[in-house]
């Protein structure tokens, strides 16, 4: 059964989604698309390959007269796919788009951390009132289906604790400092040159990005109502190469670890000394998560935490599971 989507945002994540639609027969029809400067709507379906060409040539996905908000509020679609860049402080304009779509009775799938970290309760209530789904697998650990696993597959478990490497940029820098003896500055410059780090890496290296993911996990998996201020955050920007050498003396290394232990009210992100053979010590820009549960015991997940197709994988998974759940509906 075909499902119609409107896509907001054609950056790395949005392009990944379009790439999948053009390559695979998913049964997903694109009926609306918008970037920050233009938009396009066609209830009959927008041909994806010509859209990708146009975006490449002109930098625009549609017409300047059609805004993202217009696509959200007037487009004909079943699911809004919100893939615009994260604003962790205001959550806008994404939150407004999501609110509008849910209020219209449309499902929402997002990769945008801002709205989920700041307004999860409100948005999930709004979805429930309108009888639709609000899913956000792509917001945490990219390709790793951690939210689906914790919320659905491990439904009968008490999740006692979660420990994770949740920022690929930081993990890349720490890996290179350990492997090649690079200084923090050298490793950061290398990460920038390879496109693993933004021109302004503050959001990653100071731990904000990973901490926002902890907020999302705490509020959705454990139904807490914490904010970024609740989390004890230490980034990696003050680490020295000597510190890594000192850890190596005891066959250990240093990794940026997020930690949630709800019973102890512990929400912390900090660089930690960790044995080299520990399952959370993954290489390069990978992410890894360990959850401690009462029935299933300890579970370990590792995989790509970012990337165009990897994040699209999480989004497409959300779309298809909504279609599955509401099969026979519109």
């Amino acid at each position: 059964m075909p499902v119609r989507i409107a896509l907001i945002g054609t950056g790395s994540v949005g392009k990944g989604v379009l790439e999948v639609l053009s390559r695979k027969n998913t049964g997903i029809i694109l009926t609306g698309v918008a970037d920050s400067r233009s938009g396009l709507m066609d209830p009959g379906g927008i041909p994806v390959s010509s859209l990708l060409d146009r975006k490449k040539k002109t930098g625009l996905c549609g017409e300047r007269s059609i805004s993202a908000l217009k696509v959200v509020t007037e487009g004909e679609y079943d699911i809004l796919v919100e893939a615009s860049p994260t604003d962790a402080v205001t959550g806008e304009p994404a939150t407004g788009y999501i609110r509008a779509a849910l209020s219209r009775g449309s499902h929402v799938v997002t990769s945008n951390k801002g709205p989920v970290a700041l307004h999860y309760r409100e948005l999930s209530n709004l979805a429930r009132e309108n009888g639709v789904s609000f899913r956000f697998e792509a917001t945490v650990a990219g390709a790793i289906p951690i939210l689906h696993t914790l919320l659905d597959s491990l439904g009968g478990n008490e999740i006692h604790a979660l420990y994770g490497v949740l920022n690929g940029t930081c993990n890349y820098i720490l890996t290179r400092m350990a492997e090649e003896g690079l200084s923090y500055r050298q490793a950061l410059d290398e990460a920038r040159a390879l496109g693993y780090a933004e021109a302004d890496p503050t959001y990653d290296v100071k731990g904000i990005d990973a901490a926002v993911k902890l907020v999302i996990l705490a509020n959705t998996v454990w139904k807490k109502e914490i904010t970024l201020d609740t989390i004890d955050i230490t980034g990696i920007d003050l680490l020295t190469e000597e510190a890594i050498r000192l850890a190596e003396e005891q066959d250990a290394t240093i990794r940026l670890i997020g930690e949630i232990v709800p019973a102890e009210n512990l929400y912390r992100l900090s660089p930690r000394i960790i044995p080299k053979h520990h399952p959370l010590v993954v290489q390069g820009s990978l992410n890894a998560i360990i959850v401690r549960t009462d029935l299933a015991g300890d579970l370990i997940f590792a995989g790509k935490g970012a990337g165009s197709l990897e994040t699209a994988s999480a989004i497409i998974g959300d779309i298809l599971s909504i279609r599955e759940r509401y099969a026979g509906g519109n």
Partner: protein
């Protein structure tokens, strides 16, 4: 208190039990027994390493019992602090009185810094140090780490703790 001792026993059946019996007779709690078969010598004896917990005031009585039963204590060592953890500190460690930072732990009586490695790349640059801390119990270790966390905060030192779970 926790002690470790090396006992010499005759290499014949039942001797290990004979050697360990005095420990339980004195109300001691055996933590581990390392049976060193390799040491079986021509003399027909072998040695056993035992780690045990026993109230300090009963230790003399235990030694007396060993003597009475013909068991030789080859080595005896007190392991007062057997919980060990390492932390790494980064900052202006020397200028913020490194001695005082160490003292804050040593003064507790239940934990102490037993080893320190210090790397100072250049004057004016931040240095990095690894502290190996020993403590009487897990709870004491947590308290000691808590103190160090507080000291680090005051002195603007970045403390990297081990991931323990």
């Amino acid at each position: 208190m926790q002690v470790s001792m090396k006992l010499e026993i005759r290499d014949s059946p039942g001797q290990l039990v004979t050697a360990l019996m005095p420990i339980s007779d004195m109300g001691g709690n055996i933590k581990t027994v390392i049976h060193e078969h390799d040491y079986a010598s021509d003399l027909g004896s072998l040695s056993v390493e035992v780690v045990l917990e026993i109230p300090e005031e009963r230790l003399d009585g235990l030694m007396q019992l060993f003597r009475e039963r013909g068991i030789t204590v080859i080595r005896f060592g007190e392991e007062r602090m057997h919980y060990q953890q390492s932390v790494i500190l980064i900052g202006h460690l020397v200028h913020t009185d490194l001695g005082d930072t160490v003292d804050q732990i040593d003064m507790t009586g239940y934990a102490e810094v037993t080893r320190m490695s210090l790397a100072m790349p250049a004057i004016d640059e931040r240095s990095s140090a690894k502290f190996t801390i020993k403590a009487l119990s897990r709870e004491d270790m947590d308290k000691a780490i808590g103190i160090l966390r507080e000291v680090s905060r005051k002195k603007n030192i970045l403390m990297i703790e081990p991931l323990e779970f």
